[in-house]
């Protein structure tokens, strides 16, 4: 039984191809301007990696912002449900899933089977999303993937306005001009981000185990701050946290074929 999940997000597009609970391919690409192009390209990549043709996929579920435009899917499911499902697959004890994507941030509570019980999303502005970190990394002149490590090396984190990305950017520039170290500013960026996310998580309530999906889960500074703010350990997922949505979609596809949820 070969199934696939296809997650077309605003910044990246992901596909997971699975057979009998084993992942055959899970490529990630930058999204194109049109979701259908992204979908085709990332699926082609996945298929060639897995050595399969499209017809071999027995069931495919689409998710993400672009899910309505994916040509080859059998069904679509919201990314909120998919992230919950994917996280549950990787970490059966997961009850709270924090997903920080490029444009939004969501927190989901799931039951033992991975079914969504409660969720909240924050998508009204960039502060509190991956985009915030991207902008700040850019201003600081560090690579996005290096931003997280700055926290550990900070000595005296600076105060940072964090309600609005545009203003926070101005503050970062001012701090740079005042000669504050990149580490101190970077740590504050990560902390500011974590604080905004913590409000959301607390709104639905923390229940163990907690895990994170989405690109920001790779930022160790944000993760550490969040752990401190929430007072829980955030369990690391065994896979690239960016593909959790696509993985969840693939798991849904598998369940579909097997006839109903587990």
């Amino acid at each position: 039984m070969i199934v696939a999940g296809c997650d077309i997000g605003s910044l990246t597009a992901k596909v997971v191809i699975m057979t009998n609970g084993k992942i055959l391919a899970s490529p990630v690409i930058k999204s194109k301007s049109r979701p259908e192009e992204s979908a085709k390209e990332v699926m082609d990549m996945a298929l060639s990696k897995a050595g399969l043709c499209l017809d071999a996929i027995e069931y495919c579920i689409g998710t993400g912002y672009g899910r309505g435009k994916i040509p080859f899917v059998n069904e679509v499911i919201s990314e909120i449900a998919c992230h919950g499902k994917g996280a549950r697959f990787l970490l059966p004890t997961a009850r709270t899933v924090i997903d920080i994507g490029g444009q939004d941030c969501k927190t989901m509570k799931i039951d033992r089977s991975g079914k969504l019980i409660k969720f909240i999303t924050n998508d009204k502005c960039a502060a509190g999303t991956g985009r915030f970190l991207e902008v700040m990394a850019n201003v600081l002149g560090v690579r996005l993937e290096d931003l997280g490590a700055l926290s550990a090396r900070a000595r005296a984190p600076v105060a940072l306005a964090s309600t609005c990305t545009v203003w926070a950017q101005a503050e970062v520039v001012r701090n740079i001009n005042e000669g504050k170290s990149i580490e101190d500013i970077g740590a504050s960026v990560n902390e500011a981000m974590a604080k905004r996310v913590a409000i959301l998580v607390n709104s639905v309530g923390v229940e163990k185990d907690v895990c994170m999906s989405g690109g920001v889960a790779k930022n160790i500074g944000v993760v550490k701050s969040l752990e401190r703010l929430l007072g829980v350990k955030i369990k690391k997922l065994k896979l690239d946290p960016q593909i959790v949505g696509a993985l969840g979609a693939a798991v849904f596809a598998k369940e579909k074929l097997e006839g109903g949820a587990e």
Partner: protein
């Protein structure tokens, strides 16, 4: 939906308003459900509820309003600035909430920069925020002054008989809308939530006598219609102002139907009738002051929760969506407690903050609605 009705949801200067104006009729705009339409009707004019549809930007709105203000009045101001409200002969601004009441200053100040956009009669109307004997007394006087000003400006006379007639016509309209509610809560629903909203909105933009006739015809059609919607998730939509049919369409694109609401462009405008005996002015004021369904009436949470819960139960909904326009803290925070108390009562609930008008981001709203439906399925 009949074209003449859907036209009113997307076009300010609709065919009815045009006909009314061509016939020499006057049109008076008003900001919210705390302004008695009956008074304007009794003056022989068309009450027209101000809306922000058709706005494609808020550049003018943002010039006068500050950054942290609800986009609804910003869109109204935008349209006013663009001259789209020039068909109004008058406007009543009321202190519904702080964002809305500042439409008074912003519109007046914008008219210093955009010539001719201010109606010749522009009136600021105060409504108390509590129910008490002295607040009612004050409100009756305030409404009497509104009448005096209307009469003086337009050279008309509003008699008690005019008011009584207005009450009876509007009560009739409200009763018909309640009949529509009755159809919506049936197991097999003859009308979608989007169409129902369109019908309700039309009532704020069509002369009431004509509207009542239209509504009666429509109800008969619906009652006889064999087309029924079944098998969908039944939802109640509550929260802050919404006259955007496309929001409900977005919800209903999924496997859901909106069968009830607690909106001010909705049930909050018609569930309470006006007493037809006694002093008509007092009766009107009593009804408008005591229908405490907007959180602008501070301290009436329990009443509002009861109303919401009753409507949800009556309509046998599977879930409740509570939305608010960003910066509407009144609805936004009350939605927070509603959610707590509805969930405790076993009614699944989702809160959603959004922007009004041209800023609506359908993708994000849709994602949440989908997830909510998956949650309650």
């Amino acid at each position: 939906m009949r074209e003449e009705i859907s036209e009113t949801t997307t076009t300010l200067f609709n065919r009815y308003v045009k006909k009314w104006k061509d016939g020499g009729g006057k049109v008076v705009g008003y900001t919210c459900t705390y302004v008695p339409e009956e008074i304007i009707y009794a003056a022989g004019m068309l009450p027209f509820r101000l809306r922000g549809i058709e706005a494609t930007s808020t550049s003018i709105g943002d010039t006068y309003y500050g950054p942290v203000i609800c986009s609804f009045p910003k869109c109204v101001l935008q349209l006013a600035g663009e001259g789209k409200y020039k068909f109004l002969d008058g406007a009543v601004i009321c202190n519904g909430c702080d964002s809305m009441r500042r439409l008074d200053e912003c519109w007046r100040k914008a008219s210093e920069d955009y010539e001719g956009i201010l109606p010749s009669w522009f009136y600021y109307y105060g409504v108390p925020h509590k129910v008490a004997d002295y607040s009612l007394k004050w409100f009756v006087e305030e409404t009497k002054r509104l009448i005096d000003s209307l009469e003086a400006h337009f050279g008309v006379k509003i008699t008690d008989d005019d008011l009584k007639k207005a009450i009876s016509v509007y009560n009739k309209g409200r009763t018909l809308l309640k009949r529509l509610d009755g159809l919506r809560i049936m197991d097999e629903v003859p009308i979608s939530g989007a169409d129902a909203l369109a019908v309700i909105i039309a009532g704020t933009a069509i002369p009431r006598d004509e509207y009542n006739k239209l509504l009666e015809e429509l109800l008969e059609e619906l009652e006889e219609s064999k087309e029924r919607i079944t098998g969908k998730k039944r939802l109640l939509l509550g929260g802050s102002v919404n006259d955007d049919v496309s929001l409900v369409e977005l919800i209903e694109e999924t496997d859901a139907i909106v069968v009830a609401d607690t909106l001010c462009f909705g049930s909050r405008s018609y569930v309470d009738l006006i007493e037809e005996d006694g002093d008509p002015l007092v009766a009107i004021c009593k009804r408008y002051l005591t229908h405490s369904f907007c959180p602008r009436m501070f301290g009436y949470y329990k009443e509002r929760f009861r109303f919401l819960k009753e409507r949800a139960e009556k309509a046998k909904v599977d879930g409740v969506i509570l939305q608010n326009i960003r910066f509407c803290d009144l609805h936004g925070s009350e939605n927070g407690i509603f959610e707590r108390d509805l969930e405790a009562a076993g009614i699944p609930c989702m809160r959603m903050e959004r922007e009004y008008g041209p800023l609506v981001e359908t993708g994000r709203i849709k994602m949440r609605i989908d997830a909510f439906l998956e949650r309650i399925s």
